[in-house]
């Protein structure tokens, strides 16, 4: 039953998520498969965000795409650690500057250099209200360190309703994952301007998805 390149557990998880949320991927501005590795960056409102984005990719892409996740959460219990490492092959990073020993940017660049893609949530934490907050500087630094990579904005709809922050159990609602045109860092573009542009690229996809 497993799709090419995916382990049975990976296919099972993607299948369950699709069954519950009826995920529909809309490719608006870039094809489902690119020749270069990508960084998918999206709005963040739910623990299910990266699972949904990851499930919306086709099987071959999913196999080569790794979510960037917070070590303090995913390393906390053995189940979460197994999910993060064995199922999603997450790249765990330290969020807290005080305990940070190495630069998380290096790990991300290494993954991209190996030809794999990343899923990133530049807000850094889940939004409580469904609004998309300001992007942290990490996205800018990564864009600077990896100029040949496509940075694809993604809008995730309804996931903050399916599993809001603070809830344990999800409700089944239909989800749309909208992929937009890549956002490229311009030469000499200031950090704030780039981050705001990237954030608007994500929010603009919400319009695309708005019912006619």
């Amino acid at each position: 039953m497993s799709s090419p390149g995916n382990t049975p557990v990976q296919s099972l998880v993607a299948g369950i998520v699709k069954l519950i949320t009826g995920i529909r991927a809309v490719w608006h501005g870039c094809p489902p498969a690119g020749s270069r590795p990508r960084v998918y960056f999206a709005n963040h409102g739910s623990h299910l965000d990266f699972v949904a984005l990851w499930s919306a990719l086709d099987a071959a892409q999913r196999h080569r795409t790794r979510p960037v996740a917070a070590r303090d959460f995913w390393d906390a219990t053995s189940l979460r650690r197994w999910m993060a490492c064995a199922v999603f092959r997450a790249l765990l990073i330290n969020r807290d500057k005080a305990t940070r020993q190495d630069n998380p940017l290096r790990g991300m660049v290494e993954v991209l250099e190996q030809g794999e893609s990343l899923i990133l949530f530049p807000e850094g934490t889940r939004s409580l209200t469904g609004e998309t907050g300001a992007f942290k500087a990490g996205l800018y630094h990564l864009a600077k360190a990896a100029p040949d990579i496509e940075f694809v904005p993604v809008f995730l709809e309804n996931l903050n309703r399916i599993l809001p922050k603070g809830e344990m159990l999800p409700i089944p609602l239909l989800t749309t994952v909208v992929f937009g045109a890549p956002v490229t860092l311009q030469p000499q573009e200031p950090r704030e301007a780039y981050l705001e542009r990237a954030r608007h690229a994500v929010l603009a996809l919400r319009q695309w998805n708005q019912p006619a």
């Binding site: 009826g22 809001p164 809830e167 409700i171 609602l173 239909l174 019912p211 006619a212």
Partner: protein, 314 residues
């Protein structure tokens, strides 16, 4: 359980109608090749016919497997419909737990009552017990903003998507003297008449449709389509008299009632869609839209058909 001989004949008839529809679609597609303006309509028509093949197949398979399979299949249909309804309905974080109860306790509970054929509780579980329980659960979230609207929307969704739909498999439990072991024909009769009314309204409307019935609520519905579709589907119901426990005028009258309710069910759901600014409930069924787009006409006719037959014939 297996399909009754009459049901087998009826499915052969459906097969023939779908074959004609597919051939017609194929001819129209060839004609449309030279006329680009026609292509989207024809492509939609072909997609609709293809989906009908799948739906007819699912229905035949379900009825062949018997009562318990039907409970599960209609439970799933109900689940997909409620999912579309709640997705399109504004809810807040404070509704989360009540929504969880609705999807994973109340919905399965209602179909469990069908499964064990406990009619007494089946008939009041959602109108009384869910009605009492859900607002209580919602008070615990401690958010009074739009409280009445939030509870009312959820109750309404449960009534239409779960309570009404659960009457379809419940038809299989009716014991009509002289009609034992053939209750699946009641279910098939209702679905066939109501769904063919939808299709015939579409065809009459496309051929003769001029005057709009409800320009604000549903611009595609016309008087010509309504009258033509309802009457021809009711005549189909009359033609199916021998398949039912009814006399010919009863078959016609029940068909007329079911198709009119089907029309108004579609109109009500269309008003909600329009208010929410959406065209279709979802994307589940190619060419048709969502599950709710396909079953909206059955939602309103199923409970009335069930109760009339239960009171009049059992």
């Amino acid at each position: 359980m297996h399909l009754t001989p009459q049901t087998q004949h009826l499915f052969l008839g459906i097969l023939a109608v779908l074959a004609v529809a597919s051939v017609t679609g194929w001819i129209l597609k060839r004609r449309a090749a030279a006329r680009p303006a026609m292509q989207p309509v024809v492509a939609n028509l072909v997609a609709r016919v293809n989906a009908w093949w799948v739906m007819a197949g699912v229905l035949a398979g379900t009825l062949a497997l018997g009562f318990h399979a039907a409970v599960i299949v209609f439970g799933l249909i109900s689940f997909f419909a409620l999912r579309e309804f709640i997705t399109a309905t504004p809810t807040t974080m404070a509704d989360h737990r009540a929504l969880f109860w609705s999807f994973f306790v109340i919905l399965p509970g209602q179909f469990f009552l069908v499964w064990i054929q406990w009619y007494g509780l089946f008939a009041i579980f959602i109108p009384v017990y869910a009605f009492v329980f859900l607002p209580i659960r919602m008070t615990m979230a401690g958010d009074c903003k739009g409280f009445l609207e939030r509870t009312a929307r959820l109750q309404w969704g449960l009534m239409v998507c779960v309570f009404f739909i659960s009457h379809l498999p419940m038809l299989l439990t009716l014991r009509i003297p002289g009609f034992e072991g053939r209750s699946s024909q009641l279910l098939l009769f209702l679905i066939l008449v109501v769904q063919s009314s939808d299709v015939l309204q579409y065809i009459w409307g496309k051929m003769l449709g001029r005057r709009k019935v409800a320009p604000v609520l549903s611009p595609s519905k016309t008087w010509e389509g309504l009258v033509g579709g309802v009457l021809s589907a009711s005549l189909l119901g009359l033609a199916l008299t021998g398949f039912t426990p009814f006399r010919w005028w009863e078959a016609f009258g029940l068909s007329l009632l079911a198709t009119l309710l089907g029309f108004f069910g579609g109109l009500v759901m269309s008003a909600i869609k329009r208010d929410r600014g959406i065209k279709d409930w979802g994307h589940m069924i190619q060419g048709h839209g969502g599950m709710m787009d396909r079953i909206d006409s059955l939602c309103f006719s199923a409970p009335l058909f069930f109760h009339i037959v239960r009171h009049g014939w059992t």
